[in-house]
Subunit: 205 residues, 2 copies
Amino acid sequence: MRVKNLAELEKILAKKQVLQRNTQPKNQDNTPPPPQLRIIGLDVALRCTGWGIIDTKSEGTVQIPVDCGVIKTDQKAPVSECLRRLAGGVRELIELYKPDVAAIEGGFYCQNVRTAVILGAARGAVIATLAEKAIPTHEYAPRKVKQAICGLGNASKQQVALLVSQMLHIQTDALALDSTDALAMALTHAQLLSAAQGFGVPDPI
Amino acid sequence: MRVKNLAELEKILAKKQVLQRNTQPKNQDNTPPPPQLRIIGLDVALRCTGWGIIDTKSEGTVQIPVDCGVIKTDQKAPVSECLRRLAGGVRELIELYKPDVAAIEGGFYCQNVRTAVILGAARGAVIATLAEKAIPTHEYAPRKVKQAICGLGNASKQQVALLVSQMLHIQTDALALDSTDALAMALTHAQLLSAAQGFGVPDPI
């Protein structure tokens, strides 16, 4: 193609630049980071609540342990003090680790109504704190967690701890069983995420 | 008595002033105000929680209504949203009215464990918020409240509302029954306070 004058040449060059801009790969700095989700698992009880935090990558297939522990109150402390410490402890964990989603125990069965009210109170204090911080909370029945981790619905806490240790490549001997249960809860959520989208993961409560 | 000289006269006058100072009534500005207690009563439920605030004077014998209402959430809202609004609502009430003590329902009986867990969750969210603000919380069984207000353990909500109306000299026709129940809860605490000290008022939970 013969260029007739300078103005025409400039037009052709401008067109080329637009074409290059549309076809070249996106700027590396603007690309979104690989999807990563931080999950907090909570094994809620009035006087000893286990918590465990994991990071997941590649839609839940890769799981990395972050931290775990227990929120404990004295056996003689009044119920209101236990609930205050529980809600305060969960609030601190959220501010420190900034989890994206929470998984807690649900669908359990207890014969004693009084026990159910007290356990419900502990759950209420935790769920209200998570909701206050806009963290979607999913609940899993203990049987479902044991099935997801051990393949057995009636597995013991020790068996769950062993499998958590193998899945996260950590030593769990020195950890409280409540905290390994909480890690198992977070792992269950991660595993169900890695299943087909929209399948397995329950609606947030 | 004959005064011998001016110095003696001054001594006698100074003594009289001291006597007058010791016998005259205390300065009105320095006297402490009559003891007044602000009580918040809460009839806790997941989707409709009644609240009522009263002031009491003279160790609970005089009761003055302050305000009452309900904290409501949509029937279709998820549990976590209900708990968030409930805890947030109670927090707002505390900041606005600054109650000294709280009275909530307790010792109830329900056959369904699932209902007990949900009711327990609502109670947990409320008690944790009250404890966070350092407000001592006392619980009263529904039967005890009805007995204290109506003299009948199985009185209906309408009968409770009628007696609350007479005790506080307010019109309760336009008020929700949940809020008159909450006022009854606060009145029960006030009545038990007016009984002999250390008698009747349960320990804070």
